[in-house]
């Protein structure tokens, strides 16, 4: 691997949709235009009106603590657009969508305390694609025949409309251990 390739190894992860908040094209555009700084710092949610976009209260530094990032600790097996970028939050659907009542559930490790938590990856449904903050991480993901741990499935299946808009990641409990599929 050339030095250039090695330097940009992280970009491979970017395009695997496991890292990065902005689209690939936006980043390439920035690079080509000469701006070397890649946006790596989390963006503070400026909204003081928490009822509009309620966010879970955590204090984890860096992308692992930012619900608008693929690296957010709860997104260890997320597949889709992040509702935090679409008018919702990690725990809330955007206005006018329906949170699918049927979902798949897995565990992710929280870097703040080293514990595994049980995450419910509900989809928000009834609108077309949000199109922002697309991520696909697959820790513990399994194919569709093992639906309990499949993030591939369109989990809007149980909602009134199966049009997929974005996904949330809700902590529904603390896990004694990580899920069996690792």
């Amino acid at each position: 691997m050339s030095r250039m390739d090695a330097q940009f190894e992280g970009w491979g992860r970017l395009l695997a949709r496991r890292t990065g908040r902005r689209s690939f094209l936006a980043r390439v555009g920035a690079l080509l235009a000469g701006s070397a700084a890649l946006p790596l710092l989390p963006v503070a949610r400026a909204s003081a009106d928490s009822s509009r976009v309620p966010a879970p209260s955590e204090s984890i530094p860096g992308p692992e603590g930012d619900p608008t990032r693929c690296e957010y600790w709860r997104h260890c097996a997320i597949d889709g657009f992040l509702c935090a970028c679409c008018g919702g939050s990690a725990t809330t659907c955007p206005p006018g969508t329906e949170m699918a009542p049927v979902t798949w559930i897995g565990t992710c490790r929280n870097p703040a305390d080293g514990r595994d938590y049980i995450i419910s990856y509900n989809d928000c449904c009834g609108k077309g694609f949000c199109g922002r903050c697309g991520c696909n991480r697959n820790e513990g993901d399994r194919p569709e025949y093992h639906w309990v741990r499949s993030n591939d499935i369109n989990w809007c299946a149980g909602a009134k409309s199966q049009a997929y808009h974005c996904s949330v990641a809700i902590v529904v409990g603390q896990a004694t251990e990580a899920q069996p599929e690792r």
């Binding site: 049927v102 979902t103 559930i105 080293g114 309990v148 409990g173 004694t176 251990e177 899920q179």
Partner: protein, 130 residues
């Protein structure tokens, strides 16, 4: 935090790699069942069956095998002993308090080798239940 046991597990997981702590059945339910059947087992009308009143199925001939062979149970990512504990927990806590003969691991071990590919037909054949 719920219990001291969970604290000890959390602290020692780095030291005891490979030692799997016993997962309580309510947690197994959450991880392997609640996504479809709901946190309280109510299911979703016309979409996912309710688990309430499930115990009555065991009174039908074939009912015991049926519950063990539905794919959600038979294919659950659990050893049969843990699966038996989970199934018994569901029958005890989410059903309607009806008495039932708890499942033993060896029963599940046998039945789950042949999951039902047409659970709806098998369910109709049982005739009774919720």
């Amino acid at each position: 935090m719920r219990r001291a046991a969970a604290w000890i597990v959390a602290l020692s997981c780095g030291l005891a790699a490979g030692a799997s702590a016993k997962v309580p059945p309510e947690e197994s339910y959450q991880l392997h069942c609640s996504g479809c059947h709901g946190p309280d087992g109510a299911g979703r009308a016309d979409f996912v069956p309710s688990l309430r009143g499930l115990a009555v199925l065991l009174e039908s001939p074939g009912g015991r095998a049926y519950l063990a062979r539905v794919p959600g149970v038979a294919q659950a990512p659990l050893e049969s002993a843990a699966l038996a504990e989970l199934l018994n927990w569901v029958l005890r806590e989410l059903s309607d308090g009806r008495e039932f003969a708890p499942y033993a691991a060896h029963e599940l071990e046998a039945w789950r080798r042949d999951p039902l590919r047409d659970p709806a037909a098998a369910r109709s054949a049982l005739g009774r239940g919720p």
